[in-house]
């Protein structure tokens, strides 16, 4: 009968189990297990004993797991997969080891599918069992993670944990409470061996467990402040990995109580939490996260107010040294914490202590090349930005802390260093000079660090950035008046360079490094400079073109009417600006300032000097740019600014030119070309009206014309023509009102001088000769008859057209006179410009003669022809190309008639020069290295045929020219007479008398 059978089975079961303690094989037979499982349904009264039996099975399994015979002989670790590996005995015992699995599966299905009453029962049973087994079979103390790994390898333990987990999911609220209670009770009973279970299972109701553990801990802590909290901390630490949110919530809750203590226990909250953090980094991290989250000024007040309460705890009173290391253990928010402390440091001394100690420790660790979590925090992007911000703070503590932190992190992450340098350079320190301090401190690097990154890449980075900004016009709208990043950067670099120059100001930065770095970055700087200056030049040229176009339009409306439309008022006054233009204007002003700064910087770091070697393309580029900058500088609005800009460029030019010959060549060529062609308008050049050249219909282009006929005298380009048939007269150039601006011209000459002057050999005229040759090249269009000698006067007919053109060049570019003047002062450089002098002389001669032919015209004082003649004579005299009596000719020439002038020019000047070819050979070098033509020697003594004409003419006008005559002839002869009296001369003196 079934019923009887059931009781028999029960009897059998009881007998087997109660006798089977010594014989695991019997106990673990699958039949018995099945029987037991059947009882759960058929014979519910046996539930307890069946579970007792299951506990036995689990214990057998655990016993096997920990027993040496089941251990892997090689590794010593327990063999978990016995079926696959292991020796024979292990394989024999495998069924016993795995026997609990059957139970686990059955119970799990009960939990999942059975009535809900099973869950709490199985959960409690499993918990108790796990606690018991873990306590019984743990041989040595292990960390929680190790325990978890160790025990979860055991199939029975794993099964039990799985069961508990599945049960927990089925529990109702009150049942859950009960389970937590059971768990914590077990934890109290076996604190050493149960902690891993709490940690593992805590995940099922993390907040509750965490809160309970914390409460347990604090109670123990209050009872005995020296107690060890390893288990509690271990559990929290383990649980943090998955349940940080709950831990934080618990901390938040506890801190809330701790800051507003009501119960006596609350006073211990803060000391307890701080002590707990000593046990684990992750707990510390969580606490800090919470703190950072809830921190506020008010809270700080509360802390200050409440801290005496906490001090009553002895542990807390003595824990400050451990706190200092705390910050180094943070993975996150460490920098925030330090900066917060720094912000408060002014107020509280302990903050300073904390900061000092922490920072010292930190730097020590870095020096020892130790790795620590805070480094990772510092390397975060967000932290980086925060530190940058703090670097600019006006609070010195904060700023210094930030800088030190950046230095620390830089030793490991050079890119952060570079970025920081770059970032700080971009900021403006006009309002807050602290920032530049940060920058200087940062550039100094971390003392004692061996492989600290250099700052050159940082410079390069910022310059690269700026290059982009400058090249691609920054379209981002910026409020007017904000200095651009480029401006800031160069301003900062300038300050640094200047400080560096004055040596003692920035001891942090190693002497050579800054200069070296900046010179390394020179290509970049030059690129930026290039871009800036070229834009300025474009703008300048555009403005000039607009101005002249306007002028010519006005003039054209007065077609062929000689009245001047262009008066002084218009010049320099810009037409009213449109609003869009204003912005452009603003942009140009800032660009100009940038250019000034760059040049300042270049001067400060001695760019182009011999010590800093540059590659040739850079040299050339820099030379060209320097000249461009000079011209741009001339457009500055006020005299002072113009002078300042020019002085900058002078020193720039001078340094380059004296260092590199090639630089000089380029500079000079650029200067002269600029003055004559590109930027002549700055120096009073008369604009060529476009009408003249550009309105030629295409089919009339010279090159086409030349295909049909030889151009000859009919060429419409001929300067001799006063117009083109069909178009009327060409407009007359407005000569009178446009005088060359003396100030600018002076600056220009100084620039030339700066290029030519050789600091080492002051008498070297090489540069001036170069200018002279350049002038010939640029002014004279013809390569024919460009030599030094003067031909017969008749021969000038052949070269007349070219001569006229040269003359015209002098008219349109008055600055040429000044340049020639400069050259004339440095003998024998002017000789090379012989062709220009010849052209001037020939045209003047021709014109004077022409005047003579027509009819008498009174020569106005400022007549172009007269001025030209005078200037030419002056030049000849200055350069010692004509001998003494003639040297004064320019003073008196205006007193002669045009015919007389023609005669004088022909007889005295032309013929003399024809016979004494103006060449360097005329001069000799004296002891000082000066080129000199000794007029005292017989060689320089003027043969009478060149002087007599003048003498006669002067004698005719002795009334007016008396004093001159005396000076020119008598004085000279008197002096000569001392050595060798000349009868003719005496005769003349008599005549004169």
């Amino acid at each position: 009968m079934l019923r009887q059978n059931l009781l028999d089975q029960l009897k059998h079961f009881i007998e087997t189990v109660s006798n089977g303690h010594s014989c695991p094989q019997l106990l673990t037979s699958p039949n018995l297990i099945k029987l037991a499982l059947g009882f759960l349904e058929e014979l519910p009264a046996t539930r307890d004993i069946v579970f007792e039996y299951f506990a036995l099975l689990a214990e057998i399994s655990v016993q096997l797991y920990v027993s040496p015979e089941m251990a892997d002989s090689k590794t010593g670790m327990p063999v978990s997969q016995v079926k696959q590996a292991g020796n024979r005995q292990q394989q024999l015992r495998a069924p016993e080891y795995e026997s609990f699995n059957l139970v686990k599966t059955a119970l799990q299905s009960l939990v999942w599918k059975g009535p809900p009453a099973w869950s709490p029962l199985i959960a409690n049973w499993s918990l108790e069992l796990v606690a018991k087994l873990s306590d019984k079979y743990t041989q040595r103390r292990m960390t929680i993670t190790a325990s978890c790994n160790y025990w979860l390898e055991c199939s029975a333990m794993h099964g039990l944990m799985t069961l508990i987990n599945s049960c927990f999911r089925k529990l109702t609220q009150p049942e859950e409470e009960a389970c937590v209670e059971i768990m914590l009770n077990a934890f109290h009973r076996f604190p050493m061996t149960f902690d891993w279970i709490v940690a593992r299972l805590g995940g099922c109701f993390p907040y509750k467990i965490i809160m309970q553990i914390l409460q347990c801990g604090i109670k123990r802590f209050v009872e005995d402040y020296r107690c060890h909290l390893d288990s509690e901390a271990g559990i929290l630490d383990y649980m943090t990995s998955c349940h940080e949110q709950q831990l934080r919530a618990a901390f938040r809750e506890m801190l809330r109580e701790g800051f507003a203590p009501k119960k006596p226990l609350d006073v211990a909250v803060v000391p307890f939490l701080l002590i707990t953090t000593n046990y684990s980094d992750t707990i510390l991290q969580s606490l800090v996260n919470v703190l950072v989250e809830i921190y506020s000024e008010d809270m700080c007040e509360v802390i200050v107010q409440k801290s005496p309460l906490w001090l009553s705890n002895k542990m807390f009173a003595g824990m400050q040294p451990t706190l200092n290391n705390a910050v180094l253990r943070l993975n996150e928010h460490g920098a925030t914490l330090l900066l917060t402390a720094a912000k408060m440091a002014e107020k509280y001394v302990w903050c300073q202590d904390f900061l000092d100690n922490s920072m010292q420790e930190l730097e020590q660790w870095v020096l020892n090349q130790r790795n620590f979590p805070l480094l990772a925090d510092l390397a975060y992007e967000e932290t980086k930005y925060m530190l940058w911000k703090s670097c600019l703070s006006t609070n010195l503590f904060e700023q210094q802390t930030a800088v030190r932190l950046l230095l620390v992190v830089s030793s490991q992450h050079p890119h952060i260093y570079y970025q920081t340098v770059s970032q700080l350079l971009k900021k403006s320190y006009a309002q807050n000079p602290n920032g530049i301090g940060a920058l200087i401190r940062l550039l100094g690097g971390q003392s004692g660090m061996v492989n600290f990154p250099g700052f050159t890449p940082g410079f390069k980075m910022v310059l690269e950035d700026i290059t982009l900004h400058v090249q691609v016009n920054n379209r981002l709208p910026v409020p007017p008046g904000t200095p651009s990043e480029a401006f800031n950067t160069f301003s900062n670099l300038n300050i640094l360079a200047r400080m560096h120059k004055s040596k003692n100001v920035a001891p942090y930065i190693k002497a050579q490094h800054l200069n070296q770095a900046l010179n390394e970055c020179l290509p970049k700087i030059i690129q930026i400079f290039d871009c800036t200056v070229n834009k300025l030049v474009l703008k300048m040229d555009k403005d000039a073109a607009e101005r002249s176009a306007e002028k010519f339009r006005a003039q054209q409306s007065n077609n062929n009417n000689n009245s001047d439309m262009c008066n002084g008022k218009d010049y320099g006054k810009r037409p009213k600006l449109e609003p869009g233009e204003e912005k452009l204007e603003e942009e140009d002003v800032t660009r100009m300032r940038l250019a000034h700064l760059i040049v300042d910087l270049l001067n400060n770091i001695d760019v182009g000097s011999r010590t800093n070697v540059l590659r040739t393309p850079q040299v050339l580029k820099l030379a060209v740019l320097s000249v461009k900058y000079f011209f741009v500088g001339l457009t500055e609005q006020t005299v002072i600014r113009r002078a300042a800009a020019s002085h900058r460029s002078f020193s720039l030019l001078q340094r380059q030119c004296s260092a590199r010959k090639i630089a000089r060549t380029v500079c000079l060529r650029e200067l002269v070309e600029g003055a004559l062609f590109y930027h002549g308008h700055l120096l009073g050049q008369l604009e060529e009206y476009e009408l003249d050249e550009l309105q030629i219909p295409e089919h009339e282009l010279l090159i086409l014309q030349n295909l049909h006929t030889s151009s000859g005298a009919n060429s419409n380009r001929s300067v001799l023509h006063s117009g083109i048939i069909g178009r009327g007269l060409r407009p007359v150039l407005p000569t009178n009102d446009r005088n060359c601006d003396a100030e600018k011209q002076a600056l220009y000459l100084k620039a030339l001088n700066a290029c030519c002057a050789d600091l080492e050999k002051p008498n070297n005229v090489e540069g001036y000769s170069l200018v002279s040759l350049l002038l010939v090249e640029l002014v004279s269009t013809d390569v024919m008859y460009n030599g030094l000698p003067f031909p017969d006067e008749e021969f000038t007919r052949v070269t007349m057209e070219r001569d006229m053109q040269i003359r015209r060049a002098f008219i349109t570019s008055p600055v040429l006179w000044a340049v020639l003047g400069l050259i004339a002062g440095h003998r024998p450089a002017l000789c090379y410009s012989s062709v220009l002098l010849r052209a001037l002389c020939a045209t003047c001669l021709h014109h004077w003669r022409g005047k003579n032919v027509n009819r008498f015209q009174a020569t106005a004082a400022n007549d172009e022809l007269m001025l030209c003649t005078k200037k030419m004579l002056q030049l000849l005299a200055m350069s010692q190309l004509i001998p003494p009596p003639l040297t004064n000719l320019h003073l008196i020439i205006e007193h002669f008639e045009s015919a007389e002038i023609a005669l004088l020019l022909r007889e005295c000047i032309w013929n003399y020069l024809k016979d004494h070819v103006p060449s360097p050979a005329l001069f000799h070098v004296d002891n000082n290295g000066l080129h000199w033509r000794n007029t005292n020697t017989q060689l320089a003594k003027v043969p009478p045929q060149y002087v007599d004409t003048l003498r006669h003419l002067m004698q005719r006008k002795l009334a007016t020219l008396g004093p001159h005559y005396h000076q020119m002839f008598i004085m000279g002869e008197l002096m000569e007479g001392n050595s060798e009296p000349d009868p003719t001369a005496r005769l003349q003196i008599v005549e004169l008398d």
Binding site: R3, L6, D48, G114
Partner: protein, 374 residues
């Protein structure tokens, strides 16, 4: 002193009983008890043998200092020994023998005051007996229950244990429980009394706890299939000479409370079925002419719960006449009262009618009251 003398005597008499070979000694003790129990003056020795050889209990005098404060002795048995004893007891009770002796031994083994181990063992024993359908043992258990009192904590514990074993921890109601009225009608009836007291009882808990569905279904089935089950407890007890039979209790009053109060917490149709079978059972009582089937204090309890409910309704400003649940309660109550009155099984009729009148009015109830008040 006398106890120790007795102890020595028993040891002398039963020299072959050794505690080492449990459960043999327990079986041996049981057979010896049979003879001892007959003589009424050896009660002490009986109790001592039971304690020592059957339950392996040791009193504090035996040297266990910790237990000195406790009046009841502590058992040294482990779970396996308990089950060995259970098997031994079942086997003993299954053997042919006199009912009176068996009942006497059962009552000696499990008196009205038990220590936790023994009560636990009793619960397990009865549960096992139910599982194994051990009729003689169940019969003895039924007698024990009646003698101890169906609503005493001990009985309730046993009942509760059976409910949890066969209902809470069971996926489906086992056949053994369903057939319990056939196997042990006396026990089943007493079990129902106890179980009825456990649920929907405001005296036990603050709120009305409905019985588990499976339990309700089982009891409904019992009542439907065995209309006379309620009268099973009225059978005369087989007791040893000189023993006084305790008064019986029927589950009718408790179950009536279930069905009347059920609409307040549940709307399962099983209650309607149960109600129907209850009414039938009441009707059948007419023939027997017993008047104590429905003790009036049990009915008062129902009235009390209804009054409480009406008070709660009043707090939420609801008219009881508009409350469907209350109306249903009253309807069932009125039907039951009517039949009970007509079959004359209510003890204190007038008092009941007065109390019923004080309840918020109900049509059917009014009719019933007016019909019987004359």
């Amino acid at each position: 002193m006398s106890l120790s003398v007795d102890n020595n005597k028993s040891l002398l008499r039963k020299g072959d009983m050794k505690l080492d070979n449990y459960p043999t000694c327990a079986v041996e003790a049981l057979t010896r008890l049979e003879t001892l129990i007959a003589s009424r003056n050896k009660q002490n020795m009986v109790m001592q043998i039971i304690s020592e050889y059957i339950f392996l209990e040791r009193t504090a005098k035996d040297g266990d200092v910790r237990n000195k404060s406790q009046a009841l002795p502590i058992s040294q048995m482990n779970l396996f020994q308990e089950f060995q004893l259970i098997i031994a007891l079942i086997e003993y009770f299954s053997r042919p023998g006199r009912d009176a002796t068996r009942n006497a031994i059962f009552l000696s083994l499990f008196g009205s005051h038990l220590n936790p181990q023994r009560s636990k063992l009793l619960s397990r024993l009865i549960s096992t007996a139910v599982s194994g359908s051990v009729a003689p043992l169940l019969s003895s258990a039924g007698t024990w229950m009646q003698q101890v009192g169906c609503k005493t904590p001990l009985s309730l514990e046993v009942a509760q244990n059976i409910v949890s074993d066969f209902i809470s921890y069971s996926r489906k109601t086992p056949e053994q429980l369903k057939q319990l009225p056939m196997v042990g009608p006396h026990f089943a009836a007493n079990f129902m009394v106890a179980v009825a007291d456990l649920y929907l009882n405001e005296q036990r808990s603050q709120s009305l706890n409905p019985p588990p569905d499976a339990l309700l279904d089982t009891i409904t089935e019992w009542m439907t299939e065995n209309p006379t089950l309620c009268q099973a407890s009225q059978q005369p007890l087989v007791l040893p000479a000189g023993a006084i039979a305790m008064p019986f209790a029927t589950p009718l009053a408790g179950l009536l409370r279930w069905v009347v109060l059920a609409p307040l917490v549940s709307n399962r149709t099983a209650y309607s079925n149960l109600h129907l079978s209850l009414l039938r059972a009441l009707q059948q009582l007419v023939s027997s002419g017993e008047s104590t089937a429905l003790p009036s204090q049990d009915l008062m309890q129902i009235v009390k719960s209804l009054q409480n409910y009406c008070a709660r309704l009043g707090e939420s400003k609801t008219n009881p006449e508009a409350d469907a649940a209350y109306q249903k309660c009253m309807e069932r109550f009125a039907q039951a009262v009517q039949i009970a009155l007509s079959s004359n099984c209510i003890s204190n009729q007038i008092q009941l009618l007065c109390v019923l009148e004080s309840l918020p009015p109900h049509k059917l109830m009014k009719i019933v009251i007016s019909a019987h008040k004359k």
